[in-house]
Amino acid sequence: MIGDFVFVLFYGGVLVVMGIFSRWMLSREKGPNIDHEIDKTITNKKERM
């Protein structure tokens, strides 16, 4: 019974763990922040105007 219950948790649990792992990896992103770059460009244009 316990083994069967562990299986129930395990099968879905692997997906949960992979999801948490994915979020963690994505949180470590240090990519070029294009949105902020665009924001800066717009702000600079407005200031110049």
Binding site: G3, G19, I20, F21, S22, R23, L26, P32, N33
Partner: protein, 529 residues
């Protein structure tokens, strides 16, 4: 006859799609990597379709029918986790490289033609053997459905694959793979509830199946006279260790990782992999429970790898049977087309220097090579050379050993050099070959913790370290390429990453839903009702 017509119509559809897509293939980039423009759905569909072949719908579910459904699902979900591990620890960097093939990536990463050719040769050998295994499944299935002699059936099957693959390359393969994915996933979700209903409906089908001799729905699989994988502990250990090993296979295997080269961006590659794992996990749990329940309906099916086929032809309404048989066939053809495409690409592009060719002339040359490779595969499939047949039994596992340590270290290590990479491929490949030779022909039995695939990975890793130590400095070109792949791209903007994080949230929620569903549909009938 109806089943044969249904399957042959599906063949025609794939060929027609291949012809239509040919017009969109303008240059080598379209042919090799689908123009590097594939959206999430094509990456996900092709990833699952390339992975799920006749091996899953015939080979694996024979384990479920024979009493090992639950431990098999443990292996399957660990295998599927390779989608996620692979994309984050290797695939996304591969996408940044903008290579046309995996051997090209390794060749540039280590600045070594030797490494490129070694990965190309392992790709060609391993994929040819795996393609033969899958083609055999396709041929057996078509022969069983139609009554055609096996040589004719398998030739027709491969000819269909060769036709749309050589015409439309990666673009066609991605599209047909995704179509095939929808066909076989529909087949599973439509037919398995029908099978369970035939077996008495829920919860009786589950209760009665669990009550069969040997308790086949227990967490450790069947026990008693019918158990063929040793004690419960041995059986579970085997499935868990193999699951982890297959997870590594899934992370670095070329049929999987080549999809990342085709994604529109690395974020699309990640999202596609997440969708792939979710759909794979849901599909397999339904399929394996269904296969286990068939044992309650008919425990006397002689060849347990024919269980799903038997069900389609004997239990289900004809229309459903046609969908299922087309689905199993689709699973085989989708994997076969991916393997053929990889073989053709490496033969064309990685064995001989092609840098002097323009993209358009490389496309023409690639098509010719792909056609020749396809005809050679047809010939091999008819001849069935024993050596290739033998390798086909473990072909996919070769990649975890030969490529695994090298693939991950190509991203995470600054020190690993061409010498280490080259010899780790050779040693990993050789250890798996020798280990399987000893098992098959000398009667040696390896404990699961030192299965040839595990030994191969360990020796490959040791060789990588030692080879690097005695291999001299890393070249400037290799360092520069390494820096290139470590540099995040525009697709890693805040907005794009936020979208991908939502996919990760869906993956977490899917896992919770799966556990709840498994508790309700499996645990409750057996232990609470």
């Amino acid at each position: 006859m109806t089943f044969t017509i249904g399957v042959l119509v599906s063949f025609l559809v794939y060929v027609v799609i291949g012809i239509i897509i040919t017009r969109q293939v303008k240059d080598a980039e379209d042919y090799f990597v689908a123009g590097r423009n594939a959206p999430v759905i094509l990456i996900a569909g092709s990833s699952v379709a390339s992975l799920a072949s006749t091996v899953i719908f015939m080979g694996d579910i024979s384990f479920a029918y024979d009493g090992y459904a639950i431990p098999l699902m443990v292996l399957a979900v660990l295998h599927g986790s390779g989608f996620i591990i692979g994309v984050f620890l290797f695939g996304r960097y591969l996408r940044r490289s903008r290579s046309l093939t995996l051997p090209e990536y390794f060749g540039k990463r280590f600045h070594s033609t030797k490494v490129r050719r070694a990965t190309a040769i392992t790709t060609i050998l391993g994929m040819t053997a795996y393609l033969m295994a899958v083609s055999q499944g396709v041929g057996l299935l078509l022969s069983k459905i139609s009554g055609m002699p096996y040589p004719v059936a398998s030739t027709i099957g491969i000819l269909v694959v060769v036709t749309f693959t050589f015409l439309s390359g990666a673009k066609g393969v991605l599209f047909t793979d995704t179509l095939m994915f929808f066909i076989f996933i529909t087949a599973v979700f439509v037919s398995i509830p029908y099978i369970i209903q035939t077996a008495g409906g829920w919860p009786n089908a589950i209760i009665d199946t669990a009550a069969l001799e040997g308790n086949p729905l227990s967490w450790h699989g069947i026990t008693g006279d019918k158990a063929f994988l040793g004690t419960p502990f041995e059986a579970v250990s085997w499935f868990v260790i193999m699951g982890v090993a297959w997870g590594i296979v899934g992370s670095v295997g070329p049929w999987q990782t080549s999809r990342y080269l085709m994604a529109r961006t690395e974020q699309v590659a990640i999202r596609g992999s997440i969708v792939a794992l979710i759909s794979y996990a849901f599909m397999l749990i339904v399929l394996h429970f269904g296969a286990a329940v068939i044992a309650k309906i008919n425990p006397y099916i002689e060849s347990s790898d024919q269980v799903f086929i038997w069900s389609a032809m004997n239990i289900m309404p004809t229309w459903m049977g046609v969908v299922v048989l087309s689905g199993i066939m689709a699973a085989g053809l989708s994997s076969a087309s991916t393997f053929l495409q990889l073989i053709g690409n490496s033969v064309t592009y990685d064995l001989v220097d092609q840098t002097k060719k323009s993209s358009v002339s490389l496309l023409k040359y690639s098509r010719v090579v792909m056609l020749v490779v396809g005809l050679v595969v047809i010939g091999l499939n008819l001849w069935q050379p024993p050596a290739i047949v033998w390798i086909s039994y473990f072909a996919s596992t070769l990649f975890a050993a030969a490529w695994g340590p090298m693939a991950f270290s190509s991203v995470f290590s600054k020190k690993v050099n061409a010498n280490g990479a080259f010899w780790s491929i050779i040693v990993g490949f050789s250890v798996v070959l020798i280990g399987n030779f000893l098992e098959t022909f000398m009667g040696v039995s390896f404990p699961v913790v030192v299965d040839p695939i595990i030994l191969g990975m360990v020796f490959s890793l040791i060789t990588l370290v030692l080879g690097t130590k005695f291999g001299g400095e890393v070249s400037q070109e290799a360092k520069a390429f390494h820096q290139l792949i470590l540099t995040p791209t525009e697709s890693n903007s805040v907005k794009e990453v936020a979208i991908t994080k939502r996919y990760a949230n869906i993956l977490i929620i899917s896992g919770v839903i799966l556990s709840i569903m498994t508790f309700i549909f499996y645990f409750v009938p057996i232990h609470i009702l």
